[in-house]
């Protein structure tokens, strides 16, 4: 009987129903669009931020402090700790492996190049790293330091080639010219000089402007540390830190720990890196991470405010149409109460009708919202935001909540109608 009552009542006065449904459609369309963009915006902005460079630095836990003067590390090659190149593939096995966009090892070796004291930086530009699962991962400076500019070309992996930092090249343009060969030695005078062909001049904006960059394998062989490196720069997609992100994992409850571990915080990714490569220190490059966090959090706040405003507007519209409906149907309510309906039965009847409208409005609003999100995504990020089916139940749930909140006051009023005056026609 209840279903029959709701059905019969639902198909009556379609104009009023259309108005209520329209309010819900608009509210849910805006909510779906902003939620879709909000979910996308984190990933997209994070990817765009990653074009700024690495955001994590991995060093040996027991390393000594670098002795750098003017960008040149004066530590002897035998001092300090090293990391194993063979472990790097494990980075692509952590829980958030897909968020590891790239990593580049650095091996600094004090050297004399073309008679000038400088640092030789062994690294990768484009390098295939074998992953324990049998696949491989291409990474290097191209992924972690995309802002570095090159005049000429980068060295080839494994070749006796060198790229000279722009500041160093400016100090001796004749010696450090593209195409020329330079001699590198670790001490002077030396019989063990090695010849390297200059393929490019790099402008990095970092200390490497005063260094020479060579393939990692060359630097390892040259320094006598085959298969080793000193520093690793990692570019990882992360989410802004919140209260949970900054907690000590040891102080978390098992549920909190699971949530923390399964969130791509800088802290949780660092933790996972330390798990697969023991004995390392993983630090965030704070300047980059903090800026990302602030921008992401501001954009998210803005989207949430827009969503909330749309939902409040929808709830107000539902409240207005519900109030009119309840007044129109006073007579019916009076009859029902006269023949034994309780307040809860009357409220339940109207509520069921509102929930049906919420399902219809929420579903249509979701479709419109998915379209709106595509347009927003295309205009803001250049590519349309993909519709997320997971948001459909969310949209329906929110629509039901909005319909419920909007109907609350009219429903209370309906439940409290006194049947006697209604039946008297007052």
């Amino acid at each position: 009987m209840f279903a029959r009552l709701v059905r019969e009542s639902f198909v009556r006065n379609p104009r009023r129903k259309v108005l209520t449904a329209a309010a819900l459609v608009v509210g849910m369309a805006v909510a779906t669009a902003t939620l879709t963009v909000a979910l996308e915006v984190g990933d997209r902005l994070a990817r765009e931020f990653r074009s700024l460079g690495a955001n994590l630095i991995v060093t040996p836990e027991s390393d000594t402090l670098p002795l750098e003067i003017g960008g040149v590390d004066y530590r002897p090659v035998d001092e300090g700790a090293y990391l194993s190149e063979a472990d790097l593939g494990k980075l692509k096995t952590i829980f958030w492996r897909h968020n590891i966009l790239g990593f580049t090892p650095f091996l600094d070796v004090p050297t004399i190049a073309a008679g000038m004291r400088t640092t030789m930086v062994g690294t990768w530009y484009e390098h295939e790293v074998p992953v324990p699962d049998g696949t491989s991962f291409e990474t290097g400076l191209k992924a972690t330091h995309p802002s570095w500019q090159i005049e000429g070309r980068w060295f080839r992996d494994g070749a006796d080639e060198v790229v000279v930092g722009a500041a160093l090249a400016a100090r001796n343009p004749d010696a450090f010219a593209i195409g020329k060969t330079i001699q590198v030695t670790q001490s002077e005078p030396s019989d063990a000089a090695r010849a390297l062909v200059i393929t490019g001049i790099a402008t990095t904006g970092d200390s490497e402007d005063n260094a020479i960059l060579v393939p990692l394998s060359f630097a390892q062989q040259y320094s006598g540390h085959p298969g080793q490196f000193r520093q690793l720069f990692v570019s990882a997609l992360t989410k802004p830190a919140d209260a949970l992100a900054n907690r000590d994992p040891k102080s978390l409850t098992p549920t909190e720990y699971d949530r923390w571990f399964c969130s791509p915080y800088i802290s949780s990714i660092s933790y996972q890196i330390r798990q697969v490569i023991p004995g390392v220190d993983v630090r965030a490059i704070r300047k980059v991470a903090d800026s990302e966090g602030k921008i992401l959090s501001h954009v998210s706040t803005l989207l949430w405010i827009v969503t909330l405003a749309a939902l409040i507007a929808a709830a107000l519209a539902v409240a207005a149409t519900s109030a009119t409906t309840v007044i129109e149907r006073r007579g019916e309510i009076g009859i029902m109460k006269a023949i034994g309906a309780t307040n809860a039965m009357v409220a339940g009847l109207f509520l069921a009708e509102q929930l049906m409208l919420a399902v219809v409005g929420g579903a249509i609003g979701f479709l419109f919202g998915a379209g709106l999100a595509r347009i927003l995504g295309a205009s803001v990020f250049g590519t349309p935001a993909a519709p997320r089916v997971v948001l459909l139940p969310v949209a329906l749930g929110i629509a039901a909540l909005v319909a419920l909140i909007g109907s609350l006051i009219p429903l209370r009023r309906a439940a409290r109608f006194d049947p006697a005056p209604i039946l008297r026609g007052e």
């Binding site: 009987m1 209840f2 029959r4 009552l5 019969e8 009542s9 009556r12 007579g331 019916e332 009076g334 009859i335 029902m336 109460k337 006269a338 023949i339 034994g340 309906a341 309780t342 307040n343 039965m345 006194d418 049947p419 006697a420 039946l423 008297r424 026609g425």
Partner: protein, 221 residues
């Protein structure tokens, strides 16, 4: 016979207007009472209080042991669905429900619906072939017969009829009165408000109200 309705010094005020002023009388189970009096004498107010649609300002109205003025909201709803069968002058059917659905609505608010029983009730009032009609497709007399079927469906202790023939032509008036006579002969207790002396004469007793007071009590017909 047992007393079904006890009314003691019943008073009802609407602001400064006193609709009922110290009304006292009893109704035996199985009696048919006609409540008569001019407009504004308090007849409908009395019926509404007895049916739990209104509450008294003071005094008591006890129906089948339930003091109506002391019932809370849910108690009143249960009282109306279990003990009272209403027949209104304006019929008061739900316009978008068919005849049978209107009858089943009372069943639903009482406990559970039983379509067969609802069909039988409509058959009893002579509407077997009109069960699927909406109120708008029925004549006034037919609508009132649906209301009678709805009033009877939960086997109420007391049938309250407020001018049940006030909106009907002579032919339909006859049909509805015949139904009321049948109900009375089956032992139902009926309190009927009416203006018409000819209809009032059908009842066992007449109670006449004037300005909210009993003008004539226990007039045996």
């Amino acid at each position: 016979m047992a007393v079904l309705v006890q009314i003691e010094n019943l008073r009802k005020e609407f602001g400064n207007v006193c609709a009922l002023d110290g009304v006292t009388f009893d109704v035996q189970a199985g009696e048919w009472i006609a409540i008569m009096g001019p407009s504004g004498s308090g007849k409908t107010t009395l019926i509404n209080i007895l049916g739990g649609l209104d509450t008294p300002t003071s005094g008591r109205a006890i129906v089948d042991g339930a003091d109506v003025g002391r019932l809370d909201e849910s108690g009143l709803a249960r009282f109306r669905s279990e003990k009272i069968g209403f027949i209104f002058q304006q019929f008061h059917l739900v316009p978008y429900l068919t005849a049978i659905e209107n009858v089943m609505l009372a069943q639903y608010f009482h406990s559970t619906t039983d379509e067969t029983e609802a069909r039988e009730a409509l058959g009893r009032v002579g509407l077997t072939d009109r069960v699927e009609h909406l109120p708008g497709q029925l004549s006034g007399g037919e609508q009132q017969r649906v209301a009678v079927a709805r009033a009877l469906i939960n086997h109420p202790k007391l049938i309250l009829a407020d001018e049940p023939t006030g909106n009907l032509d002579e032919a339909n008036e006859g049909i509805v009165l015949k139904l009321l006579r049948e109900l009375h002969s089956e032992g139902h207790t009926i309190l009927m408000v009416t203006h018409a002396a000819s209809i009032g004469q059908l009842a066992d007793r007449r109670i006449e109200l004037a300005h909210g007071r009993l003008a004539q009590v226990n007039v045996r017909v």
